[in-house]
């Protein structure tokens, strides 16, 4: 008798309760007399909820505690007295006995496990039946009490609607809980990290090499956690190179599509450009690593500049392409929000369309465009796959775009994949980097949204 079976049984009971209560309510609404307050279906829902919800809540709690109860029952049995004291050995025997009892296996290595198996099976079935019995009892009593309340005067609809409101409020609180969860988990692990590594070293250190020494005499792996090269790499790729690509292309595309293109061209080109934002980042990363990076290395070498096969330029360039639709659609929105009167006024004074755009529309739309660019930067610095696949791992502090740099997100992936032990500064450093990333993107978003909002208000 598994938990799933019991849950299905309870759902069946709920259905029966719904039908019964609705039938009762229909009977009294047909018989005339006082006009009932609620429709029969609401009475049905009321009784069904009372039959199902308390029992399901009990079942959820029971499925978590019953394993502990079974374990205690087994340990209290006379057969368990002979078990060795050594914890690992005891665990192994208990594990075998459990597998034997549930029928998952039928071979044993330890004779004690065979002796323990019937005890285990007995405890399992006892607690399963107990769980079933109590759930059914709760379901029946809940349903019965609710059923007796069904009468023409009973305000079932009000009760149901109050429940629905509570569920709605709970659902909208999940977003708050998620944000809180992100913040608390990042902060908690970061504090553990900062108890091992000084925050000053983390924020101002120039050297990043997160390998920890396995032996004391090992050379060159003392573990340095200076994150400046990471911050620089992130800004270099996400906020400088990517924006040099994305801002002119995005802005000019938006201007051309809103001001010059025929409606039919616009109707086709706008969704086409939006595909660029819908392509998964892993595809961009593969494109950057396979096609763009080798071309850029060859270009750098032919110019006589020291180049690496994983360059900041390749990652930044491809990231810029990915960002174009963001900049473009934000610019599009803010140009469209400039009042038509300003545009008409400029054109009526004899200015050409490009003069109107350059002297009137863009300056008027600038706050919106800046907000859009900030949002784009926040997205670029949080972008992971492109830099993981194309930017490399070497923490260089260089301004040469043909060299390899590393970013915050690359290092998070690097630190958390592979073998993990959860007390080393190496894995905890990833959470500290995550905290920095979270706070920076949050700040950028808040500032950007505020700028955009203020600007919209100015013209409304």
């Amino acid at each position: 008798m598994t938990t799933t079976t019991i849950a299905l049984l309870l759902l069946g009971l709920g259905l029966a309760a719904w039908l019964a209560a609705r039938g009762k309510a229909m009977a009294f609404s047909r018989s005339g007399g006082t006009r009932p307050h609620s429709l029969p279906a609401y009475h049905g829902w009321y009784v069904a909820l009372w039959a199902m919800v308390p029992a399901l809540v009990f079942l959820a709690i029971w499925s978590n505690v019953s394993n502990g109860l079974i374990f205690q029952a087994v340990m209290a049995s006379p057969e368990a007295a002979a078990l060795p004291d050594f914890a690992m050995q005891r665990q192994a025997i208990l594990g075998e006995a459990y597998a034997l009892a549930t029928g998952a296996s039928d071979t044993v290595f330890n004779p004690q496990a065979r002796a323990l198996a019937p005890v285990y099976a007995g405890a399992i079935s006892f607690y399963a039946w107990l769980g079933l019995g109590v759930s059914l009892l709760i379901a029946f009593s809940g349903g019965a009490v609710a059923y007796t309340r069904v009468s023409p005067h009973f305000r079932a609809r009000t009760r149901i609607e109050r429940t629905v409101m509570a569920v709605l409020l709970l659902a909208s609180l999940i977003a708050v809980l998620t944000t809180l969860g992100i913040f608390v988990s990042l902060l908690f692990e970061s504090l553990r990290f900062f108890s091992m590594v000084s925050p000053v070293e983390f924020v101002f250190g120039l050297n990043w090499s997160p390998q920890m020494a396995i032996r004391a005499d090992q050379a060159g792996s003392s573990g340095a956690f200076g994150a400046i090269p990471l911050f620089w790499g992130t800004i270099f790729i996400g906020a400088i190179i990517a924006m040099i690509v994305a801002i002119p292309l995005g802005l000019m595309s938006a201007i051309y599509l809103t001001q010059y293109a025929r409606p039919s061209v616009r109707a086709w080109m706008k969704p086409l450009l939006e595909i660029l934002a819908g392509v998964p980042t892993v595809v961009y990363g593969y494109f950057a690593a396979l096609t763009v990076a080798p071309a850029i290395r060859d270009l750098g070498l032919s110019l006589g500049i020291p180049s690496s096969s994983e360059s900041a330029l390749a990652a930044g360039l491809v990231m810029g392409i990915m960002i174009i639709p963001f900049v473009s659609s934000m610019a599009d929105d803010s140009i469209a929000a400039v009042p038509q009167a300003m545009r008409d006024g400029s054109l009526a004074m004899g200015a050409t369309r490009s003069e109107t755009i350059k002297r009137v529309l863009v300056p008027a739309a600038l706050p919106g465009v800046v907000g859009g660019v900030l949002l784009a930067v926040s997205r670029a610095i949080g972008e992971t796959m492109i830099v993981v696949m194309a930017a490399g791992l070497a923490a260089n502090l260089t301004a040469n775009p043909f060299e390899s740099v590393t970013t915050v997100t690359t290092q998070i992936v690097q630190l958390l994949t592979g073998d993990q032990e959860f007390d080393s500064p190496k894995t905890l450093a990833a959470f500290a980097l995550g905290l920095v990333l979270f706070l920076v993107t949050l700040a950028l978003n808040i500032v950007a949204l505020r700028v955009v909002k203020k600007y919209r208000e100015a013209y409304e």
Binding site: M165, A175, L249, Y256, L276, P280, I321, G382
Partner: protein
């Protein structure tokens, strides 16, 4: 008043004068150049997209094909087939040097009968057939081709198989099934929670500081980098709640938290666009506030909500970084049987294959990308169709 007029030069501007004409030409030139720059920007952006697609299709189209080699089993070896010793039969016919590691399966599926049969070629020969192999493999391929023993066929294994170390054996079904299970979990969580939150915030929430806080939180959550959700999943679902690593249930939970704000924002916009007169009419004939929403507002807002949901799901389907954090990058050679089995998903599979050194994986990676892009484009296409077909202008 008259003073200002006195200062103006009384002679009218001579628009036909050379200086004026030059100025107008200059301004019109600037206009044309500006328009051209705009056009170039659009064309360049579209060009990047075209180049990206062309590269992927160019590399990936071959991933759906495989080189096959005819096996002519000598008459005296046919007894091997009767004995069911398929692998021995392949070895007699040429062995691992020219046949793929799973060539014997094709032989087995045909059953015990002699005669020529086409079997998948080994990776080295496959690459050589495309002109990029080693000199040795090229020679072997040329020898086979000279005896007319090679052809190109459709690689069905790629659509039905799972991850493997040999590029001729790999397939995307395992990763696809993982993606499917993950998406089911994501949809089952994110859609109800997202719609309910949108309804609450748009229809019932009182205007106060708490509601403002919830709104700001949801807007910010939509812009949090995806990798942060991966860290959350790792810290909460794996380290705190001890859910199974690499499982679609954890991936689905993580992606649901990421997708939910997108659905909330789309849902609120859709609900907002339902005109207030409909609510007033329903309230006027005695419906309760819950009935107004569930009988009138939600059905009218549903197309908009669905469009937002599909777009959010498409984003989740292409997401890689958070799933790397929760361990879905493991090597998994069989499709997952349920939501708590270890699995991988399509984008992560692409990432894993892109790291492989073997030349044969390049085309497999691109082919997997084509499959992923087809699904994403189809989803976005459905969303656009829904929007155009059902969106009402009130």
């Amino acid at each position: 008043m008259s003073e200002a007029f006195d200062k103006v030069d009384p002679t009218p501007t001579d628009w036909k004068a050379e200086a004026m004409q030059r100025r107008i030409r200059k301004r019109y030139g600037a206009e044309r150049r500006f328009k051209l720059v705009g056009l170039m920007a659009v064309l360049m952006s579209a060009g990047f997209l075209a180049f990206l697609m062309w590269t992927m299709v160019g590399n990936g189209a071959r991933g759906f094909m495989q080189t096959q080699i005819r096996l002519d089993l000598p008459a005296e070896q046919v007894s091997l087939l009767d004995a069911g010793a398929w692998e021995d039969a392949v070895r007699v016919g040429g062995g691992d040097a020219i046949f793929s590691g799973i060539a014997w399966r094709t032989l087995r599926d045909r059953g015990a009968r002699g005669g020529p049969i086409w079997l998948p070629a080994a990776d080295a020969i496959d690459v050589a057939a495309k002109g990029e192999g080693t000199a040795e493999a090229e020679r072997a391929y040329a020898a086979l081709a000279a005896r007319d023993r090679v052809r190109t066929g459709i690689n069905w294994t790629f659509l039905t198989g799972s991850d493997a170390t040999d590029p001729t054996v790999v397939g995307i079904w395992g990763a696809f099934k993982g993606s499917l299970l993950t998406m089911i979990v994501t949809l089952a969580l994110a859609f109800p929670i997202g719609v309910l939150s949108a309804v609450y915030l748009e229809e019932y929430a009182p205007r106060n500081r708490w509601t403002d806080m919830i709104e700001v939180t949801i807007n910010n959550l939509a812009a949090v980098p995806s990798i942060i959700f991966g860290l959350l999943g790792l810290a909460i679902f794996l380290n705190f709640m001890h859910l199974p690593r690499s499982a679609p249930i954890v991936g689905g939970l993580t992606l649901a938290l990421m997708t939910m704000p997108v659905i909330v924002i789309a849902g609120r916009n859709a609900i907002k666009s339902v005109p207030p007169s409909i609510r007033d009419a329903a309230l006027g004939i005695g419906a309760s506030r819950i009935q107004v929403v569930s009988h009138h507002v939600l059905p009218l807002a549903l197309p908009g909500i669905l469009t937002g949901t599909i777009i959010g799901m498409a984003r989740a389907l292409g997401e890689t970084a958070p799933l790397l954090m929760i361990g879905m990058r493991a090597f998994i050679a069989s499709p997952p049987a349920g939501v708590s089995e270890p699995a991988t998903v399509l984008p992560v599979q692409i990432f894993l294959w892109s790291d492989e050194v073997s030349r044969g994986f390049v085309e497999k990676t691109s082919a997997a990308i084509i499959v992923l892009l087809v699904f994403l484009l189809a989803m976005n296409g459905i969303a656009i169709y829904l929007r155009n077909r059902f969106e009402k202008r009130w």
